[in-house]
């Protein structure tokens, strides 16, 4: 298969998978096999492209032209390759996890769950391989819409409220701000193609470019830069594997990925460096890092704490992008991957705890490490990676981010990174501590409905398998960061 067709297949395969999944509605095992097969094939397809991309080829294909000059087209470049690899790999793991999780919870509407999940992944692929900003926007909106039924999966009032916030924030920012930025860019430049060095330089004054940058950064609501971040905690009503998808695989990563794309290919980092607004926006991102971390510190609900931690970590990537230096871009790209692996591990653990013990609060987790050693070990790996302690993946990306901050002599950025590292430690380490070193609460033992499995057991094997894989990945990426690093270095064209 030619690389061009492979690109098309990568987007089409998950978008077509729901047909198969729905057809197998009555037979759960074949249905889940269909999901696993699709995700496995997708990863292989994406991986088969990666050699070409590393060798410098850029497979591209155009599909349609809804408006004259605005194409739906795909082009693979290193950053998109990285995102696609991450998303497609984590989809396999998440599918495994979902099967274990949904079956043990006896969730309803499992068929539509897997269908929308596949569509969401297809949209993420579309975002990753988008050849121009218009295509990216199309799939960005499709991703929002396809994840809405997942977020509201529970179907109760809470889910509806959360879904409202989710849709309102994401569609609101994208239609008012991002679409405005797109129309404006289009009317100024006559193109929305991604070009190395950007399309705006020489066309607009720094003042207009500044306004555009503000529209882009805040318009990409999925990047959750304050003040457009509240949808993320609201979306925590979703089932845990969906939260994992939102946080680690598709949605928020699509947001920061889009920010990086815009910075690199629409503005161009050389052009951005001369715009004063860039620095101000970087401070907004820096403030988001600290504020969200402080809020996370005060959350007792484990998933909510993870959500606020995500807001904080996303702004790392936005800040990296706005440092407008090649090293910062490398750091941002690496952080997409590293944070993805670590955060998905943490969410998997939170879900595993919920499945095994029906606990959602951190204050209830005393001594849980003795019952669920695998899960809590994985949690510890994830937590260490979030803090950035070797030998975990988080160290690598933080290293590049710091290098970027130092290179640009941004004392504020460097200071924020150090501060937030401390805050990360402050909100993650206590969980690890209580889980392993506190004695279990008596009340929990005597809770009605607890069978023996709960007290001595891990979550279902598929759940544990999934979280072990991602935790192992988090460790492995510390020792073997070559794949993502090579891609990012090729993008920035420099050496570390």
């Amino acid at each position: 298969m030619s690389p061009e067709l492979t690109v098309l297949a990568c987007v089409a395969l998950p978008l077509l998978a729901p047909a198969l999944i729905t057809a197998l509605h009555r037979w759960p095992n074949p249905r889940e096999t269909a999901t696993l097969l699709t995700s496995g094939c997708l990863f292989l397809l994406v991986y088969s492209l990666h050699d070409d991309v590393l060798r410098g080829s850029r497979p591209a294909i155009d599909l349609a032209e809804p408006l004259p000059g605005l194409k739906i087209g795909f082009e693979v470049e290193p950053l998109g390759m990285l995102f696609a690899l991450l998303a497609s790999f984590l989809w396999i793991v998440t599918s495994v996890y979902s099967i274990g999780y949904l079956r043990s919870h006896h969730e309803w509407r499992q068929t539509s769950y897997y269908s929308y999940f596949a569509v969401a992944l297809g949209s993420a692929m579309g975002i990753a391989f988008a050849g121009n900003m218009f295509t990216l926007f199309v799939f960005y909106e499709l991703l929002t819409l396809s994840t809405y039924p997942l977020v509201t999966h529970a179907g109760d009032d809470n889910a509806r409220e959360g879904g409202r916030m989710y849709l309102g924030y994401l569609l609101g920012t994208s239609i008012i701000l991002l679409l405005l930025a797109l129309v404006w860019t289009w009317s100024l430049t006559g193109t929305l193609d991604f070009r190395a060095g950007g399309i705006l330089e020489g066309v607009v004054t720094p003042g207009v470019a500044g306004i555009l940058l503000v529209l882009y950064i805040f318009g990409i609501g999925k990047a959750a830069v304050m003040p457009f971040h509240l949808w993320l905690p609201a979306a925590m009503v979703a089932p845990t594997p969906v939260s994992a998808l939102l946080h680690a695989v598709a949605v928020v990563k699509a947001g920061v990925f889009t920010v990086l794309k815009v910075v690199i290919y629409i503005f161009g980092i050389d052009f951005l460096a001369n715009i004063p607004v860039t620095q101000w926006l970087m401070y907004v991102a820096a403030a988001t890092i600290l504020l969200a971390a402080i809020v996370a510190l005060r959350q007792d609900n484990l998933k909510l704490r993870l959500a606020w931690s995500t807001i904080s970590q996303l702004s790392y990537i936005v800040m990296c992008a706005l440092l407008v230096t090649p090293l910062g871009i490398v750091g941002g790209g690496m952080h997409i991957v590293m944070h993805g692996f670590a955060k998905i591990t943490l969410f998997f653990c939170a879900g595993a705890i919920l499945t095994a013990t029906h606990k959602t609060r951190i204050s209830e987790l005393n001594g849980i490490g003795r019952h669920m050693p695998w899960t809590m070990a994985a949690f510890t790996v994830g937590a260490l990676s979030m803090i950035g302690i070797p030998p975990t993946a988080g160290f690598i990306s933080k290293w590049y981010i710091l290098l970027g901050a130092i290179e640009t002599r941004e004392a504020v950025a460097a200071g924020v990174i150090i501060m937030s590292t401390l805050l990360n430690a402050a909100y993650f380490l206590p969980i690890v501590y209580v889980a392993f070193f506190r004695t279990p609460n008596d009340t929990l033992e005597s809770m009605p409905g607890h069978n023996t499995r709960d007290t001595d057991g891990e979550a279902p094997p598929l759940v544990v398998l999934a979280l072990t894989v991602t935790a192992a990945g988090t460790l492995a990426l510390f020792f073997l960061p070559d794949l993502p690093l090579d891609l990012m270095l090729q993008l920035s064209g420099g050496s570390p």
Binding site: E65, P66, F137, I175, L180, V183
Partner: protein, 494 residues
């Protein structure tokens, strides 16, 4: 021979089929007659578009009396687009109508219904193709009178008052147009639009012509339900039979917009309309007010048909907003939205028609958990709703994109923000329905509810299909509207 008669055939076929429907006692036969007539009209419309595309503006002299003495039928690209809109909707609601009408209208009235429907179709098509100002008034009244009857056939007694209210306002509007045409004739001695446009500049600065302009503008604005002259519309759309709501919502107001375009650009000329009479500023103000106020009112409606009706008032605001910019880009954007909105609203009202067939109600409170029982209908409703909001890959996005870029190139900054932000209000009111249908627990009455029959679902989904197709590849429609707008603006510049 036959090819050159296409413009008139288009009007004559429904006109001739109408009495036949009346004579056919059997409702099935009357329906078949109306169906064949409306499909013939669609076939002719497609041929017309193709011919206009190939040879340019068509002109046809009725009874071989040459213009300006005889009545001229004239179809340019803008007219061809309108003919297409009316014909598509007309042809697609007919297969839908049989089941829906059996359910909503007394059997003895069925023949009358199809008669009035065909007369309405004839009137609307006639308004588009005619090149004669007085003939336009006649066709306007044919379509209006028949639509009053159609609306009054609604199952609730409110339909009668709604039709009555529409009759009063519509007649005042039509009489205003008549006054305007009379004043024009007084000053120029001609009724042919092209002839008028050539003679008007000599007398343009007289008060009579200004009065004529004002009368015509207000009269047509009533027909197209421009805010704040829209009061008849919500009641009429809410209480009319479902098929009628879909048909009228998708066509009648759109033809009104087209008539406005004809008068502004062809008859009076852009210079007079926009530079001398400043109608652009007035329309823009009213359009903005209409978009905001009607959208907000729509949010608070508990009847879904009424909600869609207010949404129509807002969407007409978008179309007028495009026209008020008085640039080729703006007019073309307005026409794109005219086409797209006709398809969107047609589809949404048909979906509501499916729901009405099964529920006997269009109230939001009766729709709890409906999506589980009528998944295809609700999916069509959601797809139409997304298009209304302007999500990419739907036709609504294309309109929004063109409107926003037209506003940008005209330097109307606040308008760009308004266009984008108001689509979010659309999100709010459409999502109220989605939440009720998808998240609420179905009531006990709901168990009997089944999916709508295929004959009703297929037309609905065909309209949705047109929406999605335009969203994927708008080149055809943008091509037509660009040519149409260039002809309108070009005529004005000559």
């Amino acid at each position: 021979m036959l090819i050159s008669d296409l413009p008139v055939l288009q009007v004559v076929i429904p006109l001739a089929a109408a009495p036949v429907c009346l004579l056919l006692r059997n409702p099935r036969h009357a329906w078949a007659c109306a169906l064949i007539a409306s499909w013939l009209v669609l076939a002719i419309a497609l041929m017309l578009v193709q011919r206009v595309h190939a040879v340019g503006t068509l002109s046809y002299a009725i009874g071989a009396w040459v213009a300006p003495w005889g009545i001229e039928y004239r179809i340019d690209m803008a007219g061809a687009l309108m003919v297409l809109v009316v014909a598509i909707i007309g042809a697609l609601v007919m297969p839908f109508a049989r089941r829906s009408i059996e359910h909503e209208i007394l059997e003895k009235c069925t023949g009358l219904f199809y008669t009035c429907y065909l007369l309405c179709l004839c009137g609307l098509l006639g308004m588009v193709v005619t090149g004669d100002a007085f003939n336009l008034f006649v066709f306007l009244e044919i379509s209006s009178l028949s639509s009053y009857v159609l609306i009054s056939l609604g199952s609730r007694r409110r339909a009668l008052t709604a039709a009555y209210q529409y009759l009063i306002m519509g007649t005042i509007g039509a009489t205003f147009i008549l006054i305007g045409v009379g004043l024009l004739y007084m000053m120029t001695g001609t009724l042919n639009m092209v002839d008028l446009s050539q003679r008007l500049p000599e007398v343009a600065n007289t008060r009579t012509i200004m009065a004529a302009f004002a009368f015509v503008t207000v009269g047509v604005s009533i027909k197209l339900a421009l805010f704040p002259l829209h009061q008849w519309l919500p009641n009429a759309y809410t209480d009319a039979p479902s098929v009628v709501s879909a048909f009228i919502a998708a066509t009648a107001t759109k033809v009104g917009v087209y008539v406005l375009l004809r008068f502004f650009f062809t008859v009076f000329g852009m210079q007079f309309s926009f530079d001398a009479m400043h109608v652009g500023e007035i329309l823009m103000l009213l359009a903005v007010a209409g978009i905001l106020i009607a959208s907000l009112v729509a949010v608070f409606q508990d009847n879904v048909k009424r909600m869609l009706a207010y949404s129509s008032v807002a969407q007409i605001g978008y179309i007028i907003l495009g026209i008020s910019m008085a640039s080729a880009a703006g007019v073309s954007a307005g026409m794109i939205h005219l086409f797209n909105h006709a398809m969107i609203k047609g589809a949404l009202f048909l979906a509501i028609g499916c729901i009405f067939l099964r529920l006997g109600s269009a109230e939001l409170r009766d729709m709890h958990g409906l999506a589980r029982h009528m998944p295809w209908t609700m999916a069509a409703f959601v797809a139409g709703g997304l298009s209304l909001i302007g999500i990419p890959l739907t036709s609504g996005f294309i309109s929004k994109w063109y409107l926003a870029s037209a506003a940008l190139s005209g330097g109307y900054w606040p308008l760009v923000v308004l266009i984008l932000a108001s689509s979010l209000i659309g999100l709010i009111y459409m999502w109220r329905v989605v939440e009720v249908a998808y998240f609420h627990v179905p009531g006990t009455m709901m168990h009997k509810v089944r999916e709508a029959p295929a004959v009703m679902l297929i037309p609905t989904w065909l309209l949705i299909g047109i929406n999605l197709y335009v969203g994927m590849d708008a080149s055809l429609i943008t091509d037509i509207t660009r040519q149409g707008a260039e002809i309108l603006i070009g005529e004005a510049l000559q």
